[in-house]
Amino acid sequence: MSADHSRFCDVFLIARDVVEQVARNAGGSVDFPIPVKKGIIPVTAGRLSVGGVKYTIRTIRKDWRSSQFYSALFRYTDHADVVYSTSLNRCWKRFSACKEVAHLLVDDGATHFTTDVVGLIQRIITDAPFFEADSSIESEYMGVIIAIELLLPWKFRKKLEAMRDAGKTDLQIAEHARVPEKFVNLLLRSPYGETSKRINEQLDAAAQ
Protein backbone atom coordinates (compact mmCIF):
# COMPACT_ATOMS: atom_id res chain seq x y z
CA MET A 1 0.00 0.00 0.00
CA SER A 2 1.47 3.36 -1.00
CA ALA A 3 1.78 6.29 1.36
CA ASP A 4 -0.81 8.17 -0.68
CA HIS A 5 -3.25 5.29 -0.47
CA SER A 6 -2.65 5.05 3.26
CA ARG A 7 -3.33 8.79 3.65
CA PHE A 8 -6.55 8.45 1.64
CA CYS A 9 -7.68 5.58 3.88
CA ASP A 10 -6.92 7.61 6.99
CA VAL A 11 -8.83 10.69 5.87
CA PHE A 12 -11.77 8.69 4.52
CA LEU A 13 -12.04 6.94 7.87
CA ILE A 14 -12.09 10.27 9.66
CA ALA A 15 -14.77 11.63 7.30
CA ARG A 16 -16.91 8.52 7.83
CA ASP A 17 -16.48 8.78 11.58
CA VAL A 18 -17.47 12.46 11.61
CA VAL A 19 -20.63 11.75 9.62
CA GLU A 20 -21.54 8.92 12.02
CA GLN A 21 -21.00 11.24 14.96
CA VAL A 22 -23.18 13.91 13.32
CA ALA A 23 -25.89 11.26 12.95
CA ARG A 24 -25.56 10.17 16.59
CA ASN A 25 -25.79 13.77 17.76
CA ALA A 26 -28.92 14.20 15.63
CA GLY A 27 -30.60 11.28 17.36
CA GLY A 28 -29.27 8.41 15.30
CA SER A 29 -29.79 9.36 11.70
CA VAL A 30 -28.82 12.06 9.26
CA ASP A 31 -29.93 12.85 5.74
CA PHE A 32 -29.26 15.39 3.02
CA PRO A 33 -28.36 18.14 3.33
CA ILE A 34 -25.69 17.06 5.83
CA PRO A 35 -25.73 19.79 8.49
CA VAL A 36 -22.55 21.84 8.60
CA LYS A 37 -22.96 24.58 11.18
CA LYS A 38 -25.01 22.42 13.53
CA GLY A 39 -23.37 19.13 12.57
CA ILE A 40 -19.89 18.85 11.12
CA ILE A 41 -18.46 21.96 12.79
CA PRO A 42 -19.46 21.15 16.40
CA VAL A 43 -18.34 17.54 15.94
CA THR A 44 -14.97 18.76 14.67
CA ALA A 45 -14.64 21.21 17.56
CA GLY A 46 -15.40 18.37 19.97
CA ARG A 47 -12.64 16.22 18.46
CA LEU A 48 -10.14 19.06 18.95
CA SER A 49 -11.18 19.75 22.54
CA VAL A 50 -8.81 17.99 24.90
CA GLY A 51 -8.39 17.88 28.65
CA GLY A 52 -11.56 19.84 29.30
CA VAL A 53 -10.35 22.74 27.18
CA LYS A 54 -13.00 23.57 24.61
CA TYR A 55 -11.78 24.28 21.08
CA THR A 56 -13.97 26.75 19.23
CA ILE A 57 -14.50 27.11 15.49
CA ARG A 58 -15.98 30.39 14.29
CA THR A 59 -17.55 30.74 10.87
CA ILE A 60 -17.16 34.34 9.82
CA ARG A 61 -19.00 35.79 6.85
CA LYS A 62 -17.26 38.84 5.48
CA ASP A 63 -18.39 41.44 3.01
CA TRP A 64 -15.78 41.16 0.28
CA ARG A 65 -16.21 40.05 -3.31
CA SER A 66 -14.59 36.62 -3.57
CA SER A 67 -12.59 36.37 -6.76
CA GLN A 68 -9.34 34.46 -6.25
CA PHE A 69 -10.36 32.37 -3.25
CA TYR A 70 -13.65 31.25 -1.74
CA SER A 71 -12.60 31.03 1.88
CA ALA A 72 -9.72 30.94 4.29
CA LEU A 73 -8.79 29.10 7.44
CA PHE A 74 -6.85 30.71 10.25
CA ARG A 75 -5.99 28.05 12.79
CA TYR A 76 -4.86 29.07 16.24
CA THR A 77 -3.84 26.91 19.18
CA ASP A 78 -7.18 27.35 20.95
CA HIS A 79 -9.61 28.27 18.18
CA ALA A 80 -10.01 28.51 14.42
CA ASP A 81 -11.62 31.09 12.16
CA VAL A 82 -13.23 29.99 8.91
CA VAL A 83 -13.80 33.10 6.82
CA TYR A 84 -16.02 33.09 3.74
CA SER A 85 -17.51 35.69 1.44
CA THR A 86 -20.99 37.19 1.37
CA SER A 87 -20.91 36.59 -2.39
CA LEU A 88 -21.09 32.80 -2.00
CA ASN A 89 -24.40 31.02 -2.35
CA ARG A 90 -25.59 28.53 0.25
CA CYS A 91 -24.04 25.48 -1.44
CA TRP A 92 -20.64 27.12 -1.84
CA LYS A 93 -20.53 28.46 1.69
CA ARG A 94 -21.35 25.00 3.05
CA PHE A 95 -18.69 23.37 0.89
CA SER A 96 -16.08 26.06 1.59
CA ALA A 97 -16.60 25.80 5.33
CA CYS A 98 -16.26 22.02 5.14
CA LYS A 99 -13.08 22.25 3.09
CA GLU A 100 -11.53 24.50 5.73
CA VAL A 101 -12.81 22.43 8.65
CA ALA A 102 -11.35 19.34 6.95
CA HIS A 103 -7.88 20.74 7.62
CA LEU A 104 -8.67 20.82 11.31
CA LEU A 105 -9.66 17.16 11.14
CA VAL A 106 -6.71 15.70 9.28
CA ASP A 107 -3.74 18.08 9.21
CA ASP A 108 -1.07 17.79 11.80
CA GLY A 109 1.47 20.43 12.59
CA ALA A 110 4.64 18.55 11.84
CA THR A 111 3.83 17.91 8.20
CA HIS A 112 0.80 19.85 7.02
CA PHE A 113 0.75 23.29 8.60
CA THR A 114 1.70 26.18 6.34
CA THR A 115 4.95 27.71 7.51
CA ASP A 116 5.61 29.74 4.35
CA VAL A 117 2.34 31.51 3.52
CA VAL A 118 3.72 33.39 0.51
CA GLY A 119 5.14 30.12 -0.80
CA LEU A 120 1.72 28.51 -0.42
CA ILE A 121 0.13 31.34 -2.40
CA GLN A 122 2.80 31.03 -5.11
CA ARG A 123 1.91 27.38 -5.55
CA ILE A 124 -1.86 27.98 -5.37
CA ILE A 125 -1.85 30.60 -8.11
CA THR A 126 0.53 28.91 -10.52
CA ASP A 127 -0.77 25.33 -10.38
CA ALA A 128 2.77 24.49 -11.39
CA PRO A 129 4.19 21.10 -10.62
CA PHE A 130 6.19 21.33 -7.44
CA PHE A 131 9.44 19.49 -7.22
CA GLU A 132 10.02 19.55 -3.52
CA ALA A 133 7.80 17.75 -1.09
CA ASP A 134 5.26 20.35 -0.02
CA SER A 135 2.64 19.05 2.32
CA SER A 136 0.81 22.37 2.67
CA ILE A 137 -0.30 22.35 -0.98
CA GLU A 138 -1.10 18.63 -0.89
CA SER A 139 -3.18 19.42 2.14
CA GLU A 140 -5.18 22.01 0.15
CA TYR A 141 -6.21 19.35 -2.36
CA MET A 142 -6.96 16.84 0.39
CA GLY A 143 -9.27 19.36 2.06
CA VAL A 144 -11.49 19.39 -1.04
CA ILE A 145 -11.64 15.59 -1.09
CA ILE A 146 -12.62 15.42 2.57
CA ALA A 147 -15.32 18.04 2.04
CA ILE A 148 -16.76 15.84 -0.72
CA GLU A 149 -16.69 12.79 1.56
CA LEU A 150 -18.35 14.78 4.37
CA LEU A 151 -21.16 16.35 2.35
CA LEU A 152 -21.71 13.45 -0.07
CA PRO A 153 -20.88 10.66 2.37
CA TRP A 154 -20.22 7.04 1.55
CA LYS A 155 -23.25 5.87 3.52
CA PHE A 156 -25.47 7.62 0.92
CA ARG A 157 -23.46 6.69 -2.17
CA LYS A 158 -26.00 4.14 -3.36
CA LYS A 159 -28.76 6.71 -2.96
CA LEU A 160 -26.79 9.23 -5.04
CA GLU A 161 -26.01 6.62 -7.69
CA ALA A 162 -29.68 5.68 -7.82
CA MET A 163 -30.59 9.31 -8.43
CA ARG A 164 -28.01 9.49 -11.22
CA ASP A 165 -29.18 6.21 -12.74
CA ALA A 166 -32.78 7.41 -12.59
CA GLY A 167 -31.81 10.29 -14.86
CA LYS A 168 -31.44 13.08 -12.33
CA THR A 169 -29.03 15.77 -13.49
CA ASP A 170 -25.97 16.80 -11.50
CA LEU A 171 -27.76 20.05 -10.69
CA GLN A 172 -30.83 18.25 -9.34
CA ILE A 173 -28.65 16.02 -7.14
CA ALA A 174 -26.61 19.03 -6.04
CA GLU A 175 -29.75 20.90 -5.04
CA HIS A 176 -30.88 17.88 -3.02
CA ALA A 177 -27.54 17.61 -1.18
CA ARG A 178 -26.92 21.37 -1.07
CA VAL A 179 -23.43 21.15 -2.55
CA PRO A 180 -21.87 22.80 -5.62
CA GLU A 181 -22.83 20.93 -8.80
CA LYS A 182 -19.29 20.25 -9.95
CA PHE A 183 -18.53 18.08 -6.93
CA VAL A 184 -21.55 15.90 -7.65
CA ASN A 185 -20.21 15.47 -11.16
CA LEU A 186 -16.75 14.64 -9.81
CA LEU A 187 -18.10 12.01 -7.45
CA LEU A 188 -20.63 10.36 -9.74
CA ARG A 189 -19.13 10.74 -13.19
CA SER A 190 -15.33 10.72 -12.93
CA PRO A 191 -12.44 8.41 -12.05
CA TYR A 192 -12.36 10.07 -8.61
CA GLY A 193 -15.72 8.50 -7.85
CA GLU A 194 -14.34 5.06 -8.67
CA THR A 195 -11.31 5.65 -6.45
CA SER A 196 -13.53 6.82 -3.62
CA LYS A 197 -15.75 3.78 -4.05
CA ARG A 198 -12.81 1.36 -4.06
CA ILE A 199 -11.26 2.83 -0.91
CA ASN A 200 -14.58 2.96 0.93
CA GLU A 201 -15.35 -0.64 0.00
CA GLN A 202 -11.91 -1.67 1.30
CA LEU A 203 -12.65 0.14 4.54
CA ASP A 204 -16.03 -1.62 4.79
CA ALA A 205 -14.33 -4.98 4.28
CA ALA A 206 -11.66 -4.20 6.85
CA ALA A 207 -14.31 -3.25 9.39
CA GLN A 208 -16.05 -6.64 9.13
Partner: protein, 82 residues
Amino acid sequence: MIHLESLVLDQLSTDDVMNDTLIQTKNPETAEFTRWIESERQKGLVDVKFFKRDTESSTVESFCAEVNQMLRALEVNDPDFN
Protein backbone atom coordinates in the same frame (compact mmCIF):
# COMPACT_ATOMS: atom_id res chain seq x y z
CA MET B 1 23.70 58.00 -9.78
CA ILE B 2 22.82 56.90 -6.27
CA HIS B 3 20.50 53.95 -6.19
CA LEU B 4 18.24 54.76 -3.26
CA GLU B 5 17.05 51.20 -2.61
CA SER B 6 20.64 49.91 -2.54
CA LEU B 7 21.60 52.69 -0.17
CA VAL B 8 18.83 51.76 2.22
CA LEU B 9 19.54 48.05 1.98
CA ASP B 10 23.23 48.59 2.65
CA GLN B 11 22.34 49.90 6.06
CA LEU B 12 20.34 46.85 7.06
CA SER B 13 21.90 44.17 9.13
CA THR B 14 19.77 41.03 8.85
CA ASP B 15 18.38 39.02 5.96
CA ASP B 16 14.90 39.11 7.46
CA VAL B 17 14.76 42.87 7.59
CA MET B 18 16.26 43.07 4.12
CA ASN B 19 13.64 40.76 2.68
CA ASP B 20 10.87 42.61 4.47
CA THR B 21 12.12 45.91 3.07
CA LEU B 22 12.26 44.52 -0.45
CA ILE B 23 8.71 43.20 -0.15
CA GLN B 24 7.45 46.52 1.21
CA THR B 25 9.13 48.45 -1.56
CA LYS B 26 7.92 46.31 -4.40
CA ASN B 27 4.84 44.49 -3.06
CA PRO B 28 2.96 46.48 -0.44
CA GLU B 29 -0.06 44.13 -0.27
CA THR B 30 2.19 41.11 0.26
CA ALA B 31 4.09 43.00 2.92
CA GLU B 32 0.88 43.98 4.70
CA PHE B 33 -0.37 40.39 4.76
CA THR B 34 2.96 38.92 5.91
CA ARG B 35 3.11 41.51 8.69
CA TRP B 36 -0.41 40.48 9.75
CA ILE B 37 0.62 36.83 9.73
CA GLU B 38 3.65 37.52 11.91
CA SER B 39 1.51 39.51 14.31
CA GLU B 40 -1.07 36.72 14.51
CA ARG B 41 1.63 34.10 15.08
CA GLN B 42 2.36 35.92 18.32
CA LYS B 43 -1.29 35.29 19.24
CA GLY B 44 -1.14 31.58 18.52
CA LEU B 45 -1.74 31.32 14.76
CA VAL B 46 -0.31 27.99 13.62
CA ASP B 47 -1.78 27.37 10.17
CA VAL B 48 -3.30 29.19 7.20
CA LYS B 49 -5.17 27.67 4.28
CA PHE B 50 -7.10 29.03 1.29
CA PHE B 51 -9.74 27.51 -0.96
CA LYS B 52 -8.63 28.79 -4.35
CA ARG B 53 -11.09 30.08 -6.89
CA ASP B 54 -10.05 31.70 -10.19
CA THR B 55 -6.31 32.31 -10.04
CA GLU B 56 -5.50 32.19 -13.74
CA SER B 57 -4.42 35.82 -13.85
CA SER B 58 -3.41 36.11 -10.20
CA THR B 59 -0.11 37.27 -8.84
CA VAL B 60 1.02 36.88 -5.24
CA GLU B 61 0.45 40.61 -4.86
CA SER B 62 -3.10 40.49 -6.24
CA PHE B 63 -3.92 37.44 -4.12
CA CYS B 64 -2.61 39.16 -1.00
CA ALA B 65 -4.58 42.30 -1.93
CA GLU B 66 -7.77 40.25 -1.85
CA VAL B 67 -6.73 38.63 1.44
CA ASN B 68 -6.14 42.08 2.94
CA GLN B 69 -9.50 43.21 1.59
CA MET B 70 -11.09 40.21 3.34
CA LEU B 71 -9.29 40.93 6.61
CA ARG B 72 -10.47 44.55 6.55
CA ALA B 73 -14.03 43.68 5.49
CA LEU B 74 -16.94 43.92 7.86
CA GLU B 75 -18.32 40.79 9.45
CA VAL B 76 -21.90 40.11 8.41
CA ASN B 77 -24.42 38.01 10.30
CA ASP B 78 -25.44 34.85 8.45
CA PRO B 79 -28.62 33.34 9.90
CA ASP B 80 -29.18 31.08 6.88
CA PHE B 81 -25.97 29.11 7.15
CA ASN B 82 -26.70 25.64 8.46
